[in-house]
Symmetry: C2
Subunit: 165 residues, 2 copies
């Protein structure tokens, strides 16, 4: 099992890969990854911690971009439409999508210690949702699945007191 967000990894690779992926994907789709859109995507990918719209806005402002709310919300809307990021409803914040090629809703693990989010695409969960919906004759359009808890890394740290190190 390789978790990405929660385990040590070369995150510069996450960023560069996400951006180059987004560039080719937008080119293929005939949509424009404009400077502000790309910069918002880069900012979202700065870490695996979901980031809020107004935090993005502050960064854009520092960098000389236009800094009114509609600017960032439009960029977020575009990136979301292109499946390049997801909004986490329970924290009003945004994370980069790991798999933008195929439209999907993710399932998310959110660590309340390190505040990182990991997107899953669990067939278990997808099937369980479908079974439950079917039982009620309910036709699913989309869903919000956000699981809050403690990630393995943070659990390990909490079980290793300073004195033992």
């Amino acid at each position: 099992m390789q978790a990405t967000a929660f385990s040590p990894h070369d995150h510069t690779h996450c960023i560069s890969s996400a951006i180059s992926h987004a560039q080719s994907l937008c080119a293929n789709r005939g949509v424009r990854l404009t400077p502000v859109r790309q910069r918002v995507l880069e900012l979202v990918w700065q870490s695996h911690q979901p980031i809020g719209a107004y935090e993005l806005l502050a960064s854009l402002a520092k960098e000389g971009f236009n800094s009114a709310p509609p600017t960032v919300y439009r960029a977020l809307e575009f990136l979301s439409d292109q499946d390049l990021l997801h909004k986490l409803e329970s924290v009003n914040a945004y994370v980069g999508c790991c798999n933008p090629d195929t439209p999907h809703q993710g399932h998310f693990l959110l660590c309340q210690i390190c505040h990182q989010a990991q997107e899953l695409d669990s067939q278990y969960i997808t099937l369980a949702l479908k079974l439950s919906a079917d039982q009620h004759g309910f036709e699913i359009q989309h869903h919000t699945i956000e699981i809050v808890g403690t990630c393995q890394g943070c659990l390990d740290k909490s079980k290793t007191p300073e004195s033992v190190l």
Copy 2:
């Protein structure tokens, strides 16, 4: 399979049962279901459609209750702490809880046509979440599971054109 919210039923029974249940539950727990708290709970139970804080506030104001935001948010916090309602994060609105005796997070079906919400407690979903989390060594504290789509009643209506009626 008996769905409650989405199928015709005596909703006055939902309301009175929720309120009397809440009264005895608060008495047992030694907490106070004050007038404003009970009224908020009644308003939440007016229908199976999740209701927003400011809509509650407007109703309270009409009825002569204090009508500043903290009033309703405090009542919502109390009711949530007592497991008498849930917040639906994806719509910033609140629904009465069907099973306040045992602390839990619900799973919700939200119909985008009739805007009603049905709380589930699906063992399928609970198990799937646990399996997925375990695979990542992730310890679950709580979750947000909100499934948006079309309920059976609204599907039936859409499949029965006017001309046939």
